[in-house]
């Protein structure tokens, strides 16, 4: 199987190279292009087969595979056997290749009828990167997923128990998928730049992938935070650790990109900016992968010395330098004479939001790489801690929330003061009321930053609520539908816009959770004996009794705490687990329980108001001492020193027999392990009886639940935006570039109509804008018709730019509407 795997991997590498070369060399040959696309599908199939082989070996406990031996064991639960692949470096690379193969195939499938000039270059870029990652596995030392061990050990080392947590198993592939999905917009952007087709067509074709990347990265970040909060006995969810930052930075840039591409789509502006952003996002994603593996920066996520770091750094260098050179050489095409009409317009707000997001990214990047920067200037590595990050990110995040609220209230192009005032009235009033109430009745008044965030978040949430209300009311007026149906109607017809609004609400809610839990948290370390009580933040906390249990490889020391909170009573049971290391030859001693890994199961009482979070840190000195004594007794027993019980003699007899007859060895080892477990159980029981004092970490975390809720709301919004529209689902096969252009223009007209109906555009503004848009549509259709008759290839670029064609008799807008409705 291993040699089959290696052959498949080598074939996959060849397929990636061939697909890229065929696409680039015969880029004008339609048939060759189809061929190259099919080779990409073949590449996907080959990589899938490689992954399947590895997974089968994991499930079959084939420890002759190095990857299986090092990351799984006989005791590893089946679920984690499946997921253990990506806890290895070579498995991660394989996963990277698989995700890239899937996304590339999907992207090429969806663009098979359009972007004719651009696709060969995009194929080249995607397959170049695919060849890089498959090539790493084939040629770089130490990362061959099909490496064998000879002779094969009888058991594996197993998966670290800390990582045996459902969210830890989904978290890495989520982040990976996010990183990898960014390849697609990047590849198409490069294609657009090379072929000088820098209109919004490549954006329309790939923005779904940017949105998918955003969603995956966001979900990955959220899962990581959740894991940290519930699984590590630390109680925090974010630490500004380099590896965390490495996932946050591409996500922030991707957020900026998703906003600024709308400006390019609608107004044909910000082309240089968008090209730069997509390159930066992708480079940041690569940098994240590099950071995770290089060990260049001190991080909690230390993944050991890696052999692939330098190669990835090389790839980043090529990507950054190559793309920069390309953008500079295309500056003339990218520049547009267009300007933003008004500072009170949606595009202006998008610009501000972009600056804030990029500013945030720059701050985080500076802080993350500061150890390297300071080493360069001062000769010693200095690092920046969380307070430094907080100082800069807090105000930026607060401003972002404000703009999260302002953006949706403004229409494209221009808004008159009177309309703006009307749109802002209710949200501003709500903001004022909430701010005053919070300042008067809570201690939020002492924390100006938190108060500002609550105020702006209220503004954003109420503003977006108003958007939904007005939109539905507008549609109700136009169609006569009841309110509920009208609401569903506006969301269904404009998933992208309303999905985006829902994301805004989610982010505002999430930031409320972060602000409240970080500013108003009570964090205490207490030492209690069983039966003792203490009062923490008005809650009476009693350490009722210790618990202890041994289950095979795990020794758990727990505590039962009773909490009385405002007349209500509940118990929490934090627990600390100690694991014996697996995968060693023979058996170790009882003390091994404290030599292996340990993890916490926190006691958590979550609520909408606040979480009661607790972790225990038992004093294990006594336990270790007892284990050592037991160990000595055990050894004596095995040596059958006079005076030991009879069972000792039996074990000894078995051991002597086993030494002579290897067939009995397993039996003897199992016997010893069972005896050790029994002894460990006695030790655990004596710990409970002894009633030693235990350290507890108690956190009372206000509103932290809203962080998770907000995150889920944002994800739901993103999914709504990703979901294909009805027209696409039905007629996806016949869509061409022309159709896409028509649809985009029509959507703009419809948006304006909706904005007007929702009261966001005054009658006067609307009349002006509508006339302008219709004129543009007429011009565009003329252009298209001429192109179809004349067979020109420059349709896209021209139709989106400025020109002076004049509309003629027929009503192309009605035509457009027909296209849209059919």
């Amino acid at each position: 199987m291993a040699s089959l795997g290696s052959v498949l991997l080598a074939l996959a590498f060849l397929a990636a190279v061939t697909a890229g070369v065929v696409a680039l060399v015969w880029r004008r040959d339609e048939r060759k292009l189809v061929l190259s696309r099919r080779i990409v599908y073949l590449f996907a199939a080959l990589v899938t087969a490689c992954v399947a082989i590895i997974e089968i070996e994991f499930l079959a406990d084939n420890f002759s595979f190095k990857i299986v031996q090092e990351h799984s064991s006989l005791e590893t639960p089946t679920f984690y056997k499946v997921a253990a692949m990506w806890s290895s470096q070579e498995g991660s690379l394989l996963l990277w290749a698989l995700v890239l193969a899937i996304f590339s195939s999907a992207a090429l499938f969806f663009t098979r009828n359009k972007l004719r000039q651009l696709v060969p270059w995009a194929t080249g870029v995607m397959m170049g990167i695919a060849a890089f990652f498959t090539g790493l596995m084939l040629f770089a030392p130490g990362v061959d997923p099909f490496a064998k061990l000879n002779p094969a050990p009888s058991d594996g080392i197993g998966l670290n128990p800390l990582l045996q947590h459902p969210s830890m198993m989904i978290h890495p592939p989520m982040l990976y998928s996010g990183y990898v999905a960014l390849t697609i917009p990047f590849a198409f952007a490069i294609g657009a730049l090379v072929t000088r087709r820098v209109d919004a067509e490549w954006i329309r074709a790939t923005r779904k992938f940017a949105l998918i990347a955003w969603t995956f990265l966001g979900f990955g970040l959220l899962l990581g935070a959740r894991w940290s909060y519930t699984e590590l006995g630390w109680g925090g969810y974010w630490a500004w650790d380099p590896v965390e930052n490495a996932a946050l930075m591409p996500w922030l840039l991707c957020t900026a990109f998703l906003h600024s591409i709308m400006v390019q789509e609608k107004r044909g502006m910000l082309k240089v900016w968008n090209a730069t952003l997509v390159v930066a996002s992708f480079s940041m994603a690569l940098l994240g992968t590099f950071l995770v593996r290089s060990g260049v920066l001190q991080s909690i996520h230390a993944f050991g010395d890696s052999t692939v770091g330098p190669y990835i750094l090389g790839l980043i260098g090529v990507v950054v330098l190559g793309s920069t050179a390309l953008i500079i050489s295309r500056l003339d095409e990218l520049r547009t004479p267009k300007r933003i009409d008004s500072l009170i317009s949606r595009e202006a707000v998008f610009l501000v939001n972009n600056l804030l997001l990029v500013g945030l990214t720059l701050v985080i990047a500076w802080g993350t790489f500061f150890p390297l920067i300071s080493e360069l200037f001062t000769g010693s590595k200095s690092s920046l801690a969380a307070p430094w990050f907080d100082r800069y990110t807090t105000p930026l995040a607060i401003l972002l929330v404000l703009f999260t609220g302002i953006g949706p209230l403004l229409a494209w192009r221009r808004v008159s003061w009177s309309t703006a005032r009307r749109a802002f009235r209710v949200p501003l009033a709500a903001m004022a009321i909430v701010t005053v109430a919070l300042a008067l009745f809570t201690d939020a008044g002492n924390k100006p930053w938190a108060l500002a965030l609550f105020a702006f978040a209220t503004f954003a949430i109420v503003g977006i609520g108003q958007e939904f209300w007005n939109g539905a009311a507008g549609r109700k007026r136009l169609t006569g539908e009841p309110m509920g149906k009208a609401l569903a109607g506006i969301v269904g017809r404009n998933r992208r816009r309303y999905g985006g609004y829902i994301v805004h609400v989610g982010v505002a809610v999430l930031l409320i959770g972060i602000a409240a839990s970080s500013s108003f948290q009570t964090n205490r370390n207490v030492e209690l004996k069983p039966g003792e009580s203490t009062v923490i933040d008005g809650r009476k906390v009693t350490y009722v009794r210790p618990t202890a249990e041994v289950d095979g490889l795990r020794l758990s020391i727990g505590a039962v705490l009773r909490v009385v909170e405002g007349g209500k009573e509940f118990t929490v049971e934090p627990m600390r687990n100690y694991y014996r290391p697996t995968g060693r030859e023979g058996v170790g001693g009882i003390v091994d329980y404290f030599d292996g890994e340990a993890d916490s199961e926190i006691g958590l009482k979550a609520g909408f108001g606040h979480d009661f979070w607790t972790a225990n840190q038992p004093n294990i000195v006594g336990l270790q001492r007892k284990a050592k004594t037991a160990e000595e007794g055990f050894e004596k027993c095995i040596e059958a020193v006079p005076g030991t019980p009879k069972s000792c003699k039996d074990v000894r007899a078995l051991m002597i027999a086993a030494r002579a007859n290897p067939a009995l060895q397993d039996d003897a080892l199992a016997q010893i392990e069972r005896l050790q477990e029994l002894t460990a159980k006695q030790i655990a029981a004596s710990y409970v009886k002894e009633g030693a004092p235990t350290q507890f970490k108690v956190i009372i975390n206000p509103l932290v639940t809203w962080m998770w809720i907000g995150g889920l709301i944002a994800l739901a919004g993103a999914l709504i935006a990703i979901w294909p529209s009805r027209g696409r689902r039905k007629g996806a096969l016949v869509r061409t570039e022309t159709d896409a252009l028509k649809e985009a223009k029509y959507r703009e007209i419809r948006d304006a109509e909706l904005d007007h109906a929702a009261g966001k555009l005054s009658d006067e503004d609307y009349a002006l804008l509508d006339a302008e848009l219709r004129k543009e549509a007429v011009e565009m259709l003329d252009e298209l018709e001429r192109a179809q008759n004349g067979g020109g290839a420059k349709v896209g670029a021209e139709a989106n730019g400025h020109h002076n064609g004049d509309g003629n008799g027929a009503d192309p807008v009605a035509e457009l509407e027909k296209v849209e409705r059919s």
């Binding site: 670290n160 920046l384 030599d595």
Partner: protein
């Protein structure tokens, strides 16, 4: 009619934006150098000036961890490569799950009377390497 012509207005706007950006960048750079703590390995800390705060990055010596109950824990560290003289460390506060002998840690603190005293809640233990090249048995 606008008082200033549009191109001039744009120029002013650009200048204002750029100078704000420059000011912010200067503040960022300045604070980062003053707020940062220098990272040192145990062998360097032994010869460093007492009282200065450092980020100590070292490896916990196996079997050196002593639990002092209320007073927290004490242990010895050596350089990450495993060499050099041992530095005694005392720390009270939350001990991360993966903390144990042989692991790499980062701890902020200062040297007091020959012992490196860690500040509470600053102990970071590196995750048991997911991507180690050798087994961690």
């Amino acid at each position: 009619m606008p008082l200033v012509d549009p191109s001039r207005k744009r120029k002013i706007r650009l200048v204002v934006a750029l100078s704000t950006a420059v000011l912010l960048a200067v503040a960022l750079i300045y604070t980062s150098f003053s707020a940062s703590t220098e990272a040192k390995e145990p062998s360097q800390i032994l010869t460093a000036s007492p009282g200065t705060t450092y980020d100590m990055t070292g490896r916990v010596v196996k079997g050196s961890i002593v639990d002092n109950g209320k007073e927290g824990i004490s242990f010895m560290v050596v350089d990450r490569t495993g060499g050099g003289e041992e530095l005694p460390v005392s720390y009270s506060g939350t001990v991360p799950d993966p903390f144990r002998g042989g692991r790499e840690i980062v701890l902020t603190g200062s040297l007091k009377g020959g012992t490196f005293v860690g500040e509470p809640e600053t102990l970071i233990t590196k995750c048991p390497s997911k991507f180690t090249t050798q087994s961690n048995g």
